[in-house]
């Protein structure tokens, strides 16, 4: 080691990514220890810090170049010692000068005071708060006022963030590119409009409503109406993910859906009220669309909607097939079983996508309309590399046997499929056709049946879902 020049050791060390390996190397000798200290840019700590303040100070002194810090207290119990609190955040803002990316999960002791300390971390560009129940809108406002470079903000289950002045402030600042708000009960769909001109800069938006708080409060409905009047400059969004939202025709987030010109990825999960018209508009505007993922409510979970036109049908898929020539990833899932008579997406819609777009990944969950005929059609899918079938009960061994004829397929995942057995996999055994075969919870497929069916095979069986 002694005769290897410093810069070569540095090069070797910089290629070690796993924390376990880095720890081992740093304990080998002083020279490696100091080199490692200088190279550590990110750490993840949590329950192991006791007492938290002292441990954090030690870490900040030891690793002078830390820029990414993740503090997570999942699984914490009081006997593990006191959690990090506001003082800890003060230590971070004082002793961690390069801090740019901070993530706090299950830190239940921190309050708005702590966030105010963090406001002096001028390099902070990314903040993620996951279940920090004492934080309110005031705390976030004081942070965004201080951190002028904030480009990513993720709030997950921050139950007490109610006022959204910070959203307005961020809109004026115009630095935010990635906003994610998930299950923050007090932040409604209507609040997002407060971002104003900030929309222009936004690249990625994730908005997830707590399913139990789906139905909006009255004042929220009023603010949603503002969306029609106010211009929402959302042309630059590349990735949009909406979960459990109620989309009213022509109002609220539906406006966004129709206006995104540069969208590459869209994920709509249990969004009630999305209409074919929304998706048709979207497909006509966003020719760059590469990935679509729809999880639609089954018609039974919301009885009032049985005869409602507010749902997606094959018309949406056909529009996508016609207009989006770059579409390469398609995920369709029904939340809760789907019965042929009510089904919104059918085989013909799905096949239309496969035939007209260069689809590399197809994932279907609970799609009963996809059967052996569908599998036969996939024999002509010249781009398909990865296929995922979960709870597709109409597929039988006959359909599965066709997999060996799919021109490009290299990954196959099957889960909770009742109709297929070892026989369906027989043509694959020994053929080296697939790189990966993953079988999960399929009652008729045995561990022996999958052996040799792909270069790499994973098999799991837990049949509790059936009972």
């Amino acid at each position: 080691m002694d005769n290897i020049p410093e810069h070569i050791v540095w090069e070797i060390l910089s290629r070690i990514k796993k924390t376990g390996d880095r720890n081992a190397v740093s304990l080998a000798c002083k020279r490696l220890y100091y080199l490692d200290n200088a190279q550590r840019h990110c750490i993840r700590v949590g329950c192991g810090m006791d007492p938290a303040d002292e441990a954090l100070t030690c870490l900040c002194i030891r690793f002078q170049n830390l820029s990414r810090v993740e503090i997570t207290y999942s699984g914490w119990m009081s006997k593990l010692g006191k959690q990090l609190d506001d003082k800890g955040l003060l230590i971070l803002s004082n002793d961690c000068p390069l801090l740019s990316d901070l993530s706090l999960s299950y830190c239940t002791f921190i309050t708005d005071v702590g966030l105010r300390y963090l406001a002096s971390s001028s390099n902070l560009s990314s903040l993620r708060l996951n279940f920090t129940p004492r934080i309110t809108g005031c705390g976030i406002l004081s942070l965004v006022v201080g951190c002028k470079n904030l480009s990513r903000l993720h709030l997950i289950r921050c139950l007490n963030v109610s006022s959204v002045e910070w959203l307005e402030y961020l809109g004026k600042l115009g630095t935010l590119e990635d906003l994610s708000i998930k299950n923050c009960r007090a932040i409604g769909e209507g609040d997002l409009i407060k971002l104003g001109h900030g929309w222009h800069k936004l690249r990625r938006l994730q908005f997830e409503v707590d399913a139990n708080y789906r139905y909006m409060k009255v004042y929220d409905r009023l603010s949603v109406d503002r969306w029609q009047k106010q211009h929402v400059p959302c042309e630059n969004i590349l990735e949009l993910s909406l979960v459990n939202c109620i989309i009213s025709p022509g109002r609220g987030l539906a406006c966004v859906l129709r206006k995104c010109k540069n969208l590459e990825k869209i994920h709509l999960d249990m969004c009630v009220g999305v209409m074919d018209f929304d998706i048709i508009c979207l497909s006509q505007r966003s020719s760059n669309l590469q990935s679509v993922s729809f999880r639609v409510p089954s018609d039974f979970s919301l009885p009032s909607l049985v005869n409602n036109p507010l749902r997606l049908t094959d018309e949406s898929l056909k529009a996508l097939a016609q207009n989006c020539s770059k579409l390469e990833s398609v995920r369709i899932s029904f939340s809760d079983g789907e019965f042929p008579s009510f089904s919104s997406f059918t085989l013909s819609g799905i096949l239309c996508l496969i035939q007209r777009c260069p689809v590399r990944l197809l994932a279907l969950d609970h799609v009963y309309s996809f059967d052996d005929v569908g599998m036969e059609a996939l024999c002509a899918a010249e781009y398909l590399e990865s296929l995922e079938l979960v709870r597709c009960q109409e597929i039988s061994d006959e359909g599965l046997q066709l997999v060996s004829q799919f021109p490009r397929l290299c990954t196959l995942r099957l889960g909770k499929c009742l109709g297929i057995s070892d026989d369906g996999l027989k043509p694959l055994v020994g053929s080296l056709k697939l790189d990966l075969l993953a079988i999960e919870d399929c009652p008729q497929i045995s561990e022996r049946g999958v052996q040799g069916a792909a270069k790499s095979v994973s098999f799991r069986q837990d049949l509790s879902w059936m009972y």
């Binding site: 080691m1 002694d2 290897i4 020049p5 070569i8 090069e11 070797i12 290629r15 070690i16 990514k17 796993k18 924390t19 376990g20 390996d21 880095r22 720890n23 081992a24 190397v25 740093s26 304990l27 080998a28 000798c29 002083k30 020279r31 490696l32 220890y33 990110c42 750490i43 993840r44 700590v45 949590g46 329950c47 192991g48 810090m49 006791d50 441990a55 030690c58 870490l59 030891r62 990414r68 993740e70 997570t72």
Partner: protein
């Protein structure tokens, strides 16, 4: 080097009238052809520490940035072998092998790399790394660095000490036993 210089020239002449530009581009093409031709003839000889002489093709030589810069900067008499006092003939033949495969073996390069690595013991690996560093061959240097990290993956500090032949001097540093880490932060 010459080509990058010419590349710059393209940028500079971009504002001239079109016919001039076209003429210059034609000139440039001829120049480049000439360079390629010249290089095809020019095989450079390298002399290792144990006095062995290797005749090396320009395409391989290009990978050895250090030799390349020697040829470009100093008016070296190419009829005389360039001495490489830090490199043994054994290592140089390995290096040439590697560079050759890296350039021309498109089908089973990974397989070759596996074989290549297997044929080396720790000491040889270290020597080769130093040689790759000395000659400034990026592909080989990266490959060997990655191989080193693979070899010490999931190993204990004791193993790493043995592996690199280092003395344990850690007892004197008290702060080295900092709180445990829970795991790495994986990149997205």
């Amino acid at each position: 080097m010459v080509i990058t210089a010419k590349g710059k020239e393209i940028l500079e002449i971009a504002e001239e009238p079109e016919y001039v530009m076209l003429a210059k581009v034609e000139d440039l093409k001829m120049d480049m052809l000439r360079i390629v031709e010249e290089e095809e003839i020019k095989k450079i000889r390298l002399k290792t520490s144990d006095e062995a002489t290797f005749e090396v093709e320009p395409s391989i030589l290009k990978e050895m940035k250090r030799v390349q810069s020697l040829i470009n900067t100093e008016a070296i008499d190419t009829s005389v072998a360039i001495p490489l006092p830090n490199i043994t003939s054994r290592n140089l033949s390995r290096i040439i092998d590697f560079c050759w495969e890296h350039q021309y073996n498109t089908e089973n390069l990974e397989e070759f790399k596996g074989r290549f690595l297997k044929s080396l013991n720790h000491q040889e690996l270290k020597e080769l790394l130093l040689a790759a560093n000395y000659l400034n061959i990026k592909t080989l240097f990266d490959f060997l660095c990655n191989s080193f990290t693979d070899l010490i993956q999931n190993e204990s500090p004791e193993f790493i000490r043995d592996f690199f032949n280092i003395l344990n001097d850690t007892n004197s540093v008290k702060s080295m036993h900092a709180p445990a880490f829970q795991g790495s932060i994986d990149d997205d």
